[in-house]
């Protein structure tokens, strides 16, 4: 006797999770990036984002391949090395109604892409920018990147003698309005962070440490699964209540920092440190990150949120419709306009 297959779980826009899946990953088995792709799928599904309204953007590298492995129903653009910010900026200028999700890597961001990255932050372009951060260049077989920690060791025995660039501290200083760090192995934290990111309006910069199982997961590496499991210090516990759900559990208000998101969602950051942590205080955020470096801790959590700062698109005073599809009647000035210009030049 055949048993009825249970109907697949459907999200609030009536789609099953399979509609958020992508192609089969060609990354190494166990690569942290694959776990991040899974969390993106979960977050987009749970938030009920229309896949067609998303653009997946990336640069070059292992990380930048990953948009092929989630959300096949979203347009995707695998651009050139370190230049995803500019391409995304252009795409959003053309169509400000889509949601941009960018996936980059530590090399793609902190080395070749640093120029565009800092200007993206400065503009507060509304997009989610994820760094899949493993501290090495994978596709070229394991050279250090600029986020590798000082003293970290390659398989070949080479020790990194340059300090790491902290992309989170940089993002906070330069104007991103939602900044956090997570670990590809921390499903719960990463999922909550991604859902909040989807709700945020402005540049979301998430540095997700994502161990490279092939080139940077050995003893002596500071970006290995083992090292992360031992040194991951969450600064807050992230609770996210989307706008379309009721808040069920209330924390003791003294322990929770409640951030009202632009879309009506609520980001609830429960303090995990005795001294507390205010994620709206830029100076405290940068100080805390700096101190963590001194102590050799890997802080994770949401470090900074600003829900009020206008985005780059807000500053441009654009019409509501996408510029891309404005009709000729709107974008070509009239015959009279040309006549008048010609007259003024005579």
């Amino acid at each position: 006797m055949a048993t009825a297959t249970p109907a697949p779980k459907i999200n609030r826009i009536g789609l099953p999770v399979v509609e958020y899946r992508g192609g089969k990953s060609t990354l190494c088995a166990g690569c942290g990036h694959n776990a991040i792709s899974e969390r993106i799928i979960d977050a987009m599904f749970e938030m009920g984002v229309e896949p067609e309204r998303v653009i997946k953007m990336s640069g070059i590298g292992c990380s930048s391949k990953s948009p092929a492995y989630f959300m096949n129903r979203a347009h995707s653009f695998n651009s050139v090395h370190g230049r995803m910010p500019s391409v995304t900026t252009g795409a959003l200028l053309a169509n400000s109604t889509v949601q941009a999700l960018g996936v980059s890597g530590d090399g793609d961001t902190a080395s070749i892409g640093m120029g565009q990255f800092v200007h993206l932050l400065r503009r507060n372009l509304p997009m989610i920018y994820i760094i899949e951060d493993n501290g090495v260049y994978g596709l070229t077989k394991g050279q250090f990147s600029a986020t590798a920690d000082i003293g970290s060791k390659l398989k070949t025995g080479v020790i990194n003698d340059l300090p790491a660039i902290d992309t989170c501290a940089l993002a906070i200083q330069l104007g991103a309005t939602f900044v956090g760090r997570s670990f590809s192995g921390d499903k719960k934290q990463l999922l909550a962070m991604l859902k909040a990111a989807i709700a945020h309006k402005g540049t979301v910069m998430l540095d997700v440490i994502s161990p490279c199982v092939t080139f940077n997961d050995h003893e002596g590496s500071t970006k290995s699964y083992k090292f992360l499991q031992e040194h991951d210090e969450p600064i807050n516990e992230i609770g996210f209540v989307p706008s379309f759900e009721d808040i069920e559990v209330d924390y003791d208000s003294g322990e929770v920092y409640d951030v009202q998101m632009h879309d009506g969602s609520s980001l609830r950051l429960r303090k995990l440190r005795e001294e507390g942590y205010d994620p709206t205080d830029k100076i405290e955020a940068v100080r805390t990150l700096t101190e963590a470096h001194e102590k050799g801790e890997i802080l994770t959590g949401v470090f900074y949120v600003d829900t009020r700062k206008p985005t780059f698109l807000d500053l441009l005073n654009l019409v509501d419709e996408p510029l891309a599809t404005l009709p000729e009647s709107v974008t070509r000035p009239s015959r009279e306009a040309l006549d008048s210009l010609m007259h003024s030049l005579q």
Partner: protein, 613 residues
């Protein structure tokens, strides 16, 4: 009358006896950069234009904010020649640093108008000298000391107007237009013009033969620079996204575009139907342009040589991933920084093949301001039709100088937005393959991000891709893709602006050229005819890839001279790649690359030498 100011009486007498020269000479104004001579130069140019005389102006300026020498040349030509002329007959010397050299450059019988204490007559006994106490005259009419430097320029306009017999009313109109709506500024400036005029009238007896006489040749014409014309074209082409990085000599193209967008493209609700972004560099500028083009916007950037070099990587992505975007290159001299304020055509080859791998680009080559306006619009249609970046190559001479033109005509065809599938199309078709050549023209159909259809999405990448936009490293997939791109490029030959057959008679000898070389070459054709009795044919190339007519022209001539403004014969080289060997062997080169716009005499002399005339 201060006859004592005139140089050696005897020679002056012989000079004044010369035949009257009306509407066929050049003026050179030597000043210091940053002294505000621009408005005065513009007033003088527009006044000659207002007299109905064909005129052109060239600003020969340094790459400097203030303090270095700068020259402005104005050519009046009753024949309508607008190219640079090698010699200028009338000098206005206001820069003590260069005054000696400036006066030594005058031809015999030339005219020198100068600040009297420069005492230039000591260097030349064979030119007519009109010393003017500019500072004294300026001080008298401009009590505010800090404005005197600017106002002084208008005094020279008055002196020149009086000596050349330009109507004061025409000058007044030009000054009024220049300082539109600012009555006080007008009063001060026109007061300066009058002071100069009155002084010249009271002091000098006309000793030179040069006059501006009324003509009717400029009625209905406009004056505009090429950068403004390109910008205007873009605005009438419905550009919506502009991303750029400042660079001489392209900056004013974007400024003109932005001004017009603000004027013409704000909705009644006060919202912008455009976005202009000053990017962090040219890499980002073209990245934004291609991102916007990918998402369906009409997008553009403008730059010059160094910016073009930076855009190389993205240009290859645009070609390979088939992204629309318009890139203006207002050429200046290279290599490297080169001479940023001097003109050149030496970006042709680099732009045609910009980026690594087998990349090639569609390049439009306007030669005058009207074509700037038209090709700018054409570029947006072509880039969306062909789904590839389209370059518009102008140069500093065309872009930053004022040119006369017939008024621009309103575009007579609707936008061609190219092959874009909507959600409704996808419902009907059931799906699509982004890079499949369904129409046989090498151009696939695309969808725009945000299209509400589960089958709308595709994956854009600069890596190997198959017809469905999937990643591939299969040899056949790659060859198919590269061959289709080549087919598309072949098809562009028929879509780009056709060459202009300026003259195709019975001559065995022909000329080929593009862009601003046209001004000098047309004049040179007349010189060759008048001085050597030879009628030489001429076809002007207006785009790459080359149209069939260009092949035919070479085939029907024994020798073809390719005239261009670069050292390495770039146009000739590009033609040689395109032509069969026996045809390529017919090409000869006439090259000019000193940073100044080519003049007719240079072409004529070189042609005569090479032809053994």
């Amino acid at each position: 009358m201060a006859t004592g100011d005139l140089a050696l009486g005897q020679e002056q007498g012989s000079l004044s006896a010369r035949q009257r020269v009306a509407n066929d000479f050049s003026i050179i104004v030597a000043t210091v950069n940053g002294s505000g001579s621009q408005s005065a130069n513009s007033v003088l140019l527009k006044s000659i234009f207002g007299m109905g005389v064909p005129v052109s102006g060239k600003n020969l300026f340094p790459s400097n904010i203030a303090g270095l020498p700068t020259w402005y040349t104005i050519r009046a030509s009753k024949y309508g020649y607008v190219a640079r002329k090698r010699e200028c007959e009338v000098l206005v010397a206001l820069n003590p640093e260069t005054a000696r050299e400036d006066v030594l450059n005058l031809p015999t019988g030339g005219v020198a108008i100068y600040e009297e204490n420069l005492n230039l007559k000591q260097y030349r006994s064979d030119v007519v000298c009109y010393p003017v106490p500019f500072d004294k005259l300026t001080a008298a009419i401009c009590p505010e000391a800090k404005l005197r430097k600017l106002v002084k320029n208008m005094v020279y306009v008055g002196v020149v107007a009086q000596l050349l017999a330009i109507d004061l009313e025409v000058i007044e109109k030009s000054v009024k237009k220049q300082f539109a709506k600012k009555q006080k500024v007008f009063d001060l400036n026109f007061g300066a013009v009058k002071a100069g005029h009155d002084y010249a009238q009271a002091t000098f007896t006309k000793q030179d033969p040069y006059y501006i006489e009324h003509m009717g040749s400029t009625t209905g014409k406009i004056i505009i620079d090429g950068n403004a014309a390109c910008g205007m074209g873009a605005v009438f082409a419905g550009v919506t996204v502009v991303a750029w990085y400042p660079i001489t000599p392209s900056t004013s193209l974007i400024e003109a575009t932005t001004d017009l967008l603000k004027k013409l493209r704000i909705t009644p609700e006060g919202k912008a139907t455009f976005a202009v972004v000053q990017a962090e560099d040219e890499l980002a500028a073209i990245g934004m342009v291609l991102g916007a083009g990918w998402a369906g916007a009409r997008s553009m950037t403008s730059t010059s040589g160094p910016g073009i070099s930076l855009m190389a990587e993205f240009a290859g992505l645009g070609y390979f991933a088939e992204l629309p975007g318009v890139i203006f290159d207002v050429q200046r001299t290279g290599p490297a920084t080169g001479m940023p304020t001097r003109t050149s055509q030496a970006d042709l080859l680099p732009v045609a093949f910009l980026s690594h791998g087998d990349t090639k680009h569609v390049v439009l080559l306007p030669a005058n301001v009207k074509e700037c306006f038209e090709f700018s619009q054409e570029a947006f249609d072509l880039t969306e039709r062909l789904q590839t970046p389209v370059f518009v190559l102008t140069d500093l001479d065309l872009g930053m100088n004022n040119w006369m033109s017939e008024p621009f005509t309103y575009p007579d065809k609707p936008f061609d937005r190219g092959k874009v599938l909507t959600a409704e199309d996808l419902n009907r078709l059931g799906g699509f393959a982004r890079y499949k050549d369904v129409d046989g023209d090498g151009v696939g159909w695309r969808t725009l991000p945000g299209t509400k259809h589960p089958k709308a999405a595709y994956f854009t990448r600069g890596s190997g891709h198959n017809e469905s936009a999937g990643y591939t490293e299969k040899p056949d997939d790659y060859v198919n893709l590269m061959d289709r791109l080549a087919r598309k490029f072949e098809g562009a030959r028929k879509l780009v602006p056709a060459p202009v057959v300026v003259k195709d008679g019975t001559s065995k000898v022909g000329f080929l050229a593009f862009g601003t070389t046209d001004f000098a070459l047309r004049e040179s054709l007349d010189q060759i005819q008048a001085e050597y009795g030879q009628s030489v044919d001429y076809v002007r190339i207006r785009a790459y890839p080359f149209a069939q007519e260009i092949h035919d022209f070479v085939a029907s001539h024994e020798r073809v001279y390719v005239v261009e403004q670069d050292r390495d014969a770039q146009l000739a080289s590009l033609l040689k790649l395109d032509l069969p060997g026996e045809q390529a062997a017919k090409l000869r080169s006439i090259l000019h690359y000193n940073g100044l716009p080519v003049d007719a005499r240079t072409i004529t002399e070189e042609f005569a030498t090479k032809e053994g005339l």
